[in-house]
């Protein structure tokens, strides 16, 4: 037995969906002769996550992220393969398992709309069998970590999206789960609230050693929280490792900005790399990763450089390119 918090082996989920052509004719045909076909949402994926790890789960829409998350928390029964989360088979939904996990979904709320969050939170406390005194302690602790105060006493409908999300997190974490499944937890939030939520997740992880699997469209969430990312596309894992190696795979070129104190010709700069942008005292070059150190030392030796900056193209940009490139992914 491994000590992993989450271990997944050849996990597969097939859906059968019915095909319908548009229009009245299609509808009638669909009604009379329903044709279903099987779609593989998740295709034999395997990975394992250690206790306390924060793993980013990324991929385009429909890649299978949500289906995987829901199989991990037990909502969806896998077609085949094995899942084990803290030693439980999730889809048995045993209370002992459920008390240790939580699922937070950015676009679905569990707080009652007409009531203050505190009321819904106390319902959860009763459901998880937490004593009133302990409940109050935990609410105080989480509220101060989240920067929530009086908002907990106002009806949910009167809260801003950011305040509501923070209250959702409080409700979802009251039972102090050790495994967190977060599906787009910062969806639609403004930048300040996004940062607040990230900081909170990071300190919750530190304080309780919780394991987190986080899917997000905002790469900022991933880059600031997760050292490891799992990239999924068409139901398959195409990268599982550090964010840095993903960047290296996706972007074999580095971008180098030069500022010069004497004008130089295009040709004299062009021999060090591919010119992206050029004025006589400024240049932006693309240089292969492998040749980077030697090229830079040559540049510093040969050219009158006043400033030099090496950077990776932004990860958002890389991922976007990756998904736009479509079917033929080869990394």
């Amino acid at each position: 037995m491994s000590m992993a918090s989450i271990s997944v082996n050849a996990l597969t989920k097939n859906y059968s969906v019915s095909r319908k052509t548009p229009g009245i004719k299609g509808t009638l045909k669909h009604f009379l002769f329903r044709r279903t076909e099987t779609i593989t949402a998740v295709d034999e994926i395997s990975f394992s996550i250690q206790p306390g790890e924060m793993v980013g789960f990324i991929g385009p829409n429909g890649a299978g992220k949500t289906t995987t998350l829901k199989m991990l928390c037990g909502l969806i029964h896998p077609t085949s393969g094995d899942v084990s989360v803290i030693g439980h088979k999730p889809h048995s939904l045993e209370p002992g398992f459920l008390k240790q996990i939580t699922l937070v979904m950015g676009q679905k709320q569990q707080l009652l709309w007409d009531l203050p969050p505190l009321d819904s939170i106390k319902v959860n406390a009763a459901v998880y069998g937490i004593s009133p005194r302990e409940t109050n302690n935990r609410i105080d602790e989480l509220a101060s970590m989240l920067g929530l105060g009086n908002e907990l006493n106002r009806p949910v409908r009167k809260l801003s999206l950011g305040e509501r999300m923070k209250a959702e997190l409080l409700a979802a974490l009251l039972h102090r789960p050790s495994i967190l499944f977060l599906d787009e937890p910062t969806l639609g939030l403004d930048v300040i609230s996004q940062v607040r939520v990230r900081e909170f997740l990071s300190s919750y992880n530190e304080r309780y050693g919780a394991t987190m699997l986080l899917s997000s469209h905002y790469m900022g969430d991933i880059t600031s929280l997760c050292d490891r990312v799992i990239l999924i596309h068409h139901g398959q894992i195409i990268h599982d490792g550090s964010l840095i190696t993903l960047t290296e795979k996706l972007a074999p070129l580095k971008s180098v900005r030069l500022e010069l104190n004497k004008p130089q010709t295009r040709e004299s700069i062009g021999k060090y790399g591919l010119i992206e942008d050029y004025t006589d005292t400024f240049a932006q070059l693309l240089i292969p990763r492998k040749a980077l150190t030697s090229s830079i030392s040559n540049i510093l030796r040969d050219l009158p450089v006043t400033d030099l900056e090496v950077s990776d193209p932004p990860i958002e940009e890389l991922i976007r390119q990756l998904f736009e490139s479509g079917e033929n992914l080869s990394i």
Binding site: Y15, N61, T66, T67, K70, C73, G74, L75, I76, H77, L93, P95, G96, L98, K99, I101, T102, L103, M105, Q107, K108, Q109, Q110, L112, D114, L115, D119, S120, K122, V123, N124, A125, A126, V127, Y128, G129, D183, E184
Partner: protein
Amino acid sequence: MKSKFNKYINISMVLLRFWQTSLAIELEYQLNMLIELVSVLGNLFGSLFILSLFYKSGPLLGGWNFFEALIVLGIYMILEGITTSILAPNLSRIVNHVKNGTLDYVLLKPIDSQLWLSLRIISPWGLPSQLIGILLIIYSLVSIQVDLSLFNILIFFTCLFASSLILYSLWFLLASTSIWFVKVWNATEVLRSILVAGRYPMSAYPRGLRTIFTFLIPIAFLTTVPAEVIIGRVSNEYIAIILIIAAIFFAISRRFWKFALLHYTSASS
């Protein structure tokens, strides 16, 4: 034993919280109480009027006299009240849970999901109907001089419990199908309108309908049979039959819910 006891304590704590929060929501709308009262009274007088028309032609309707038929109506009104208080607000929400994907949150709570879905909300607006139903029954029992002994009252409440359980199980069974037929199907409303057939004694209906209401959709066991037991038209052993039927329906509803969850695919983003 102790853990079992603790479990029940815990469940009652949960229910207390459930009902506190749902009453808090409902009581935000005080006008509802008035509207509900008016509609209950309207319903009552409508039914009484129709019933009095039936009895214009003779003293018996399918072998029931007027006061006996009133008892059936009374039981119907109590069930209608229970429907408004518990069944309708909870069970018609299951469809929305499935549609919006919030069923996920319910399923991931360490509590029986059927319990949560069935008893999460309690609405006070069914009370007028229940009160009027009870008054109607007491008035009729006194009029036909049935002995109001403790034993009879106990039998009455047992019957009422069993028929509510049958109604609940049927309703929950239908609501469970929303796991497959999201939004196409609001079966619960259909059931509610069939229940209206329970206003009058079963023998007042033609033979074909009577068979359907007895064997297919057990409306007969919801109002007529309990009324027969209370009046003493049939022997007390009939209680056992109603209870067994209730137990069977309840077991089926639980089984079916477990089965439905196997097919739950959860609304995606």
